[in-house]
């Protein structure tokens, strides 16, 4: 299985690895969202701006979410994230995901290791590659 992303330009002129796909809303529809592929993030976190469209019942978190700026106000939601395989078929990931509640806390949602830990993660800017690799796929590192 291979799930492809891409390097996207952000507001500060920096290219970052992003996978674009969908989150299941409380109404049963799928809401598109961008996810930063963050290999340092312990867990997946939705931005407050995206959370505002999901209409999901939130659960009080058992533990906080902390970044460089300290603890961020957050909630937990039970939902699904839909990603697209290299074959154009889709895979859904069901679980409890965190979301920050202040818009300024995150400009874009973050894909963390609760989900990326199921895969080998490649974020290779010189070669313009962002992908999650798993199951029937593998990768090789070889000298040029």
């Amino acid at each position: 299985m291979r799930i492809n992303g891409e390097w996207l330009l952000f507001d500060d002129g920096v290219m970052r690895p992003v996978i674009r796909r969908e989150i299941l809303t409380g109404g049963g529809s799928w809401q598109p969202a961008e996810f930063l592929v963050d290999t340092g993030a312990d867990r997946t976190v939705f931005s407050a701006a995206t959370l505002s469209k999901l209409g999901l019942q939130s659960i009080v978190p058992q533990e906080g979410i902390s970044g460089l700026g300290g603890l961020a106000d957050s909630v937990v939601v039970d939902t699904q994230i839909r990603l697209t395989r290299e074959t154009e078929s889709t895979v859904v990931f069901h679980g409890q995901f965190a979301a920050v509640t202040k818009v300024e806390a995150l400009d874009v949602s973050v894909l963390g290791r609760d989900l990326t830990g199921l895969f080998a993660v490649i974020v290779d800017q010189p070669s313009d590659v962002v992908c999650l690799v798993g199951q029937q796929h593998q990768y090789t590192i070889a000298p040029r």
Binding site: L8, L9, F10, D11, D12, G13, V14, R20, R21, E22, S29, W30, Q31, P32, A33, E34, L36, D38, G40, A41, D42, R43, T44, V45, S47, A48, A49, T50, S52, K53, I65, S66, G67, L68, A72, V76, R82, T84, E88, S89, T90, V91, V92, F93, H94, G95, Q96, A98, V100, V103, E104, L106, D107, V108, V110, G112, D114, L115, L118
Partner: protein, 98 residues
């Protein structure tokens, strides 16, 4: 020792109708995302501190996500490929790692 979080369960979708709907929505999303990348320099300069929704390959900006979504929905109620981005007030180096 690694902290334990709630388990994430992976499931492959096989229903052809679901896959067709997903593909159509993804194409609309990709168009809106491509529009933002093509206009990134202008958007990131003009809309600092705003929430921007891209729908129908147009931008809708407001102070809150709810307002931005409402503007987009009024103009393009049919577009299920719309998405939102918050443009930070200032250029800063982000260390995400939440």
């Amino acid at each position: 020792m690694e902290r334990k979080h709630a388990t994430v369960v992976m499931e492959e979708v096989t229903d052809p109708d679901d896959l067709a709907r997903a593909r159509a929505q993804r194409e609309r999303f990709d168009k809106n995302a491509a529009w933002l990348q093509a206009h990134a320099a202008e958007v990131y300069t003009r809309y600092r501190g705003k929430c921007v929704v891209i729908a129908g390959e147009e931008l809708f900006a407001a102070d809150t996500p709810e307002e931005a979504w409402a503007l987009a929905a009024a103009a393009h109620p049919e577009d299920d490929g719309s998405f939102i981005r918050y443009i930070p007030r200032e250029k800063v180096a982000w260390i995400y790692a939440h």
